[in-house]
Amino acid sequence: MTDASQMANGGSTSPLAIELSAINKSFGDVHANRDVNLKVVSGHIHGIIGENGAGKSTLVSILYGFYAADGGLISVNGQITTIRNSADAIGKGIGMVHQHFMLVPNFTVLENVMLGHEGSLSIEASAQKARNVLNKLSEDFGLTVDSDMIVENLPVGLQQRVEILKALFRGAEILILDEPTGVLTPQETEQLFDILRALREQGVTILLITHKLKEIMAITDDVSVMRDGEMVAHLKTAQTSPAELAELMVGRKVLLEVDHTPAKPGVPVLQAENLCLTTANGIDHLKDISLTLREGEIVGVAGVSGNGQSELLDVLSGITTPTSGSFRVGTNEITTQRPSDPAQLRRLGVAHVPEDRHKCGIILPFSAAESMILGYSGTDEQNQGWWLSPSALEQNCADRMHGFDIRPPLPSLASANFSGGNQQKIVLAREISTQPKLLLVGQPTRGVDIGAIEFIHKQLIALRNEGCAILLVSVELDEIMSLSDRILVMNNGQMVGELAREEADEQQLGLMMAGIGAEDGITTSQMRAGS
């Protein structure tokens, strides 16, 4: 490992940890990887960036033995090899941290780390051995985790650490991370990057798959860009720029900053007072939430996921009834005693783009035309008397597909067959087309590619300019900061602070999201001075 790290600094003579040549992979008609070449220098952090569906995940899945390539050669440490399954990959020193963690939720950290590499038939002895290795790894790399904790009780950042430990435990010298930061706070991301740097110091080669330009710029040595299943560029990170990478990813110039004009807030559309939500087993999800939303403004709700944002959306959209408190939409007051439901709120002009489009936004086996009217199937334009009118459905869907540039523009295609970005556009098109007074939108661009993000952001701004009030919940701080006129920060079910657009920066938001320095500015500045 030390040999590799010494030589890695030697420039063009550096040995290659991984070399892929002419990798091809098709799924039916979809050519996911087309003649992909890749050279990863040993001891480097190599980024692969590309939009969703560009073929990044397919490529690393081939490398990790999840799929077999249709053709092409894989060399690991200079030797041509075949990788038929994950066991082969592990044997070659390749470890992978998956986007969706491959952890058994009700197992302890130790059991998860051992799984598949127990050593002996009885697990007593191997458990002790694994414990020792874990302790050593956590010392070497600052990867501290309590090995007897049940994994599902750990915060996401720590679960990811377990994934990394798992790979290192199996002797990984090449570590693949697939979209590792999607679920992390800025601070957790920074911690992850520190760990990755420490790993690089020790000679570990890292392949980082991401669609976030900032991360590529922050941590990688080299970067390869994928687009439509092909590698379109291999660059030194130091010699490129976010703008250049973005253009390579999308194949055209991208507006990274949204054209954001000052808001002209009008009358209040939504007024919430002291909303509380407590579950049957006594857990407080929302504590005394009060907020006001006015016409023509976007209010962003920042926070680490799981701090009450989802529950807030559920309450405001009528899915759940608050335990106490009230909110007013126009002149209608909704309280615990006078609850509402999504249908009633929709009639009052409240539209809702749910956080999880697969769970609540669309129905995957339904056609796009059917998904396009979920919740609005009772309106006159969809019906002829008692019956749904298929032709009206299709026509309506085709119009919206045209307006929102949904591809492919086929109303009869099953919702499942659209890419993430296009599925999201279906939901957005449905909710926006009713000209709502209030739009609740959760994670509008989760798992959505750059081109579609740009489009969705433009739509939200346009809607705001028409006078709609928008409550934006997102775990993407960039998104919150570029779209919001005001930013509210949630932590542990409470609103812990509010910042105007101008005064928000990532550092401060991050601290507030972590529940530190929320009460007043002095603490925050002290925290910053201290660090």
Binding site: S86, M96, M102, P105, E111
Partner: protein, 330 residues
């Protein structure tokens, strides 16, 4: 004197009921352990019933033909394992619906045992009555008579502990075996992982299909023993539909025991006890109630299971990936 005799008699009655409980519970215990193996690996196993029925027939038929209970047992295990592999082929390799596949095996067993039975023995689906030599005989423990004469304790040894056939002991050992495998061995760790999150096992470099097949094979062995017990130890020959839903009761006991060996054992003993009590109370007049409500007692296991599943008696947490064929994502 009269009084004392009454107490002693009551005590004996009680012990006989406990003894009957063990005998009735044995196939349930073996089947429930089999169910734990299948279901912990993520395969719904309603085919316990069919596997047990088929192996009961195989055991009796082979014991008749070879005059060897052991040969019958081995054949029963073989047949049950084969059915388990069939279940695996349908639900692991071909990714079919596990309930449908299990149901098919049950129907197959129900029809095939009778058809083959009639063809072979021409006794309306039954196998000929087995002689003592062709069955698993009770094992009288040493000094059963001498110790049995001791007051109070003695009858426990004589009636409850002594006089069981080997398969009763095997069933109890199977509980320890199952608990040991699940918690102390590599295979157990992988087995629990594959039922909770198969993709985690796959990415750890262990074959999901292989692990599940292995689980079904172990389940097959246990189920085969349960079948052999019914026809060549507890009974003396195969009678059509002789399992009479015991596979389902075992499945219920396993769920009642929350997929844990100890819990399943206790549930099996409870169910066995209720059945033993019901058969003892058949036609007996109980003070205040009148004729003993035997049907109600027999229905209790099912009621208890339904109540448990409805969430009234603690939460039953099935393995998370149960019932889902493993498909690598897209």
């Amino acid at each position: 004197m009269q009084e004392e005799g009454g107490v002693a008699d009551l005590w004996l009655q009680f012990l006989l009921t406990i003894d009957a409980t063990l005998r009735v519970a044995t196939p349930l215990i073996l089947c429930a352990m089999a169910g734990i193996f299948s279901e912990k690996s993520g395969i719904i196993d309603i085919s316990l019933e069919g596997k047990m029925l088929m192996s009961a027939f195989a055991a009796a038929a082979v014991a008749t033909l070879t005059s060897s209970a052991l040969a019958g047992l081995v054949t029963a295990i073989g047949v049950s394992v084969l059915l388990g592999l069939l279940h695996g082929l349908a639900s692991i390799t071909l990714r079919g619906n596990q309930v449908i596949s299990g149901l098919a095996i049950n129907i197959l067993a129900s029809g095939l045992t009778v058809t083959i039975g009639i063809a072979m023995f021409k006794q309306g689906g039954q196998t000929p009555n087995l002689s003592r030599a062709e069955r698993f005989r009770p094992i009288e423990l040493p000094f059963a008579e001498q110790i049995g004469n001791l007051p109070l304790i003695g009858p426990i040894y004589r009636e409850v502990i002594s006089g069981h056939n080997i398969l009763v002991w095997v069933a109890l050992a199977a509980v320890l075996f199952t608990a040991f495998i699940l918690t102390r061995t590599r295979f157990g760790l992988r087995l629990r992982a594959v039922g909770e999150k198969p993709e985690a096992l796959d990415s750890a470099g262990v074959s999901v299909a292989k692990t599940r097949y292995l689980a079904l094979i172990v389940a097959g062995v246990l189920c085969g023993m349960a079948g052999a017990y019914l026809s060549t130890a507890h009974g003396s020959g195969f009678v059509r539909e002789m399992t009479a839903g015991k596979g389902y009761i075992a499945l219920a006991a396993m769920i009642f025991g929350k997929w844990q060996p100890r819990g399943a054992l206790l549930a099996c003993l409870l169910f066995g006890f209720l059945e033993a009590v019901a058969s003892r109370l058949q036609g007996v007049d109980v003070p205040l109630i009148g004729e003993a409500p035997v049907d109600l007692i027999l229905a209790l296991p099912y009621l208890l299971t339904v109540i448990l599943l409805a969430g009234f008696v603690g939460k039953a947490m099935p393995p998370r990936a149960i019932g889902e064929p493993y498909v690598k994502e897209r």
